[in-house]
């Protein structure tokens, strides 16, 4: 049975499994019709790629494309860094409201040594001990939202 065009193309592109590649190779070696078809398909593809070269020449990204990408990355980095600082500051403020400045000794290390999210992860179990799991989760959620966790009191969570 002769391989179809898709199989011949896949064979030409070396995209078949090793076994299938070998089977087609053996078939082509003994089949003039498929051998000729493969040759024609290959020439056709080369011709298409030659035509595509014109498109490639005409269609290129702007010269400052990489600069734009890097600027976007750095802008995002600055924004993330700023959000992180704000979050950290809020955590420090709010935890000191509950526990006073001695909280840092309990958590191990000063506030400056921690990333905001890490700090919050460390503080949550401690908050849970004092105010309960549900209330601690609410406080953490409020801090993440950037709100004042004392609003939880008004909402009746604690």
């Amino acid at each position: 049975m002769h391989p179809d065009t898709a199989t011949l193309l896949a064979y030409r592109d070396r995209q078949l499994s090793a076994v299938a590649q070998r089977e087609i190779q053996l078939h082509i070696a003994g089949c003039a019709r498929c051998s000729a078809a493969l040759e024609r398909l290959s020439k056709e593809w080369e011709h298409i790629l030659a035509e595509d070269a014109a498109f490639r020449r005409l269609c290129a990204p702007p010269r400052d494309g990489l600069d734009r990408v890097l600027s976007a990355i750095r802008e995002r980095g600055r924004a993330a860094s700023s959000t992180e600082s704000e979050l950290k500051q809020k955590i420090v403020e709010q935890l000191e409201v509950y526990f006073g400045s001695r909280i840092w000794a309990v958590l191990g290390g000063g506030p400056a040594s921690e990333q905001g999210t890490d700090l919050l992860a460390k503080a949550e179990p401690l908050l849970t001990t004092f105010i309960g799991r549900r209330a601690a989760a609410a406080v953490v959620a409020e801090i993440h939202k950037g709100a004042d966790p004392r609003a939880c009191l008004d909402a009746g969570v604690m």
Binding site: C59, P61, A72, G77
Partner: protein, 195 residues
């Protein structure tokens, strides 16, 4: 270029170097792929930028990306599909829109030629065939194309065979897409399907 923010540290610099390397390897192909789908230089560049930005964010989150080329093309494609959907909802005509974003680097004749090539390809091939052909022409393996298009590798082979056949057949009806230069004419004598 703006300085790297201190807070991002050496890890960010390392990923940034990775992005620079990948941009050098794949940006041109990704841009062509985006351009064929959107027919708009600015939109294609925005899509390219978004894909690399998402790569940076993913790697910053310690995500391991085994095949960056396929990953970048897949993210790019998802973004492009969103853009096309949004564009269709706004009832925009993309080819007409392309003329509103002249690129000073290109002369009008080149831009016209490019527009013709893209129009010709889009008329000739189905969207799936066009994507498949473009990805293969950019050097992606069948497996990678399948990953990008979310189809089976066997489907990739069938799509490519159909695309190649249509591209060959366009030579039978030169100018059918509006201009002989715009298509991918194949001399009939070299065509395996010619009777």
């Amino acid at each position: 270029m703006p300085p790297l923010p201190e807070a991002t540290g050496s890890r960010a610099e390392e990923i940034e170097r990775e992005v620079v390397r990948l941009y050098g390897e794949f940006a041109e192909g990704m841009f062509r792929y985006a351009f064929v789908l959107l027919a708009n230089r600015e939109a294609a560049q925005d899509a390219l930028q978004e894909a690399f930005l998402r790569y940076f964010m993913a790697r910053s989150g310690n995500r391991s990306i085994e095949r960056p080329q396929a990953w970048l093309f897949r993210v790019l494609r998802n973004y492009l599909l969103d853009q096309l959907k949004a564009s269709s909802q706004r009832k925009e005509v993309d080819l007409a829109q392309m003329r509103n974003y002249p690129d000073m680097r290109q002369d009008p004749e080149s831009e016209f030629r490019l527009e013709q090539i893209v129009r010709s390809l889009r008329e000739l091939l189905s969207p799936r065939e066009l994507e498949c052909f473009r990805l293969r022409a950019e050097g992606l393996r069948y497996e990678e194309i399948a990953e990008v298009l979310e189809v089976r590798p066997g489907t990739v082979g069938a799509l490519l065979a159909r695309a190649q056949k249509k591209l060959r057949q366009s030579s039978v009806k030169p100018g059918a897409s509006g201009n002989e230069q715009a298509g991918y004419p194949v001399p009939e004598s070299e065509c395996p399907y010619a009777s």
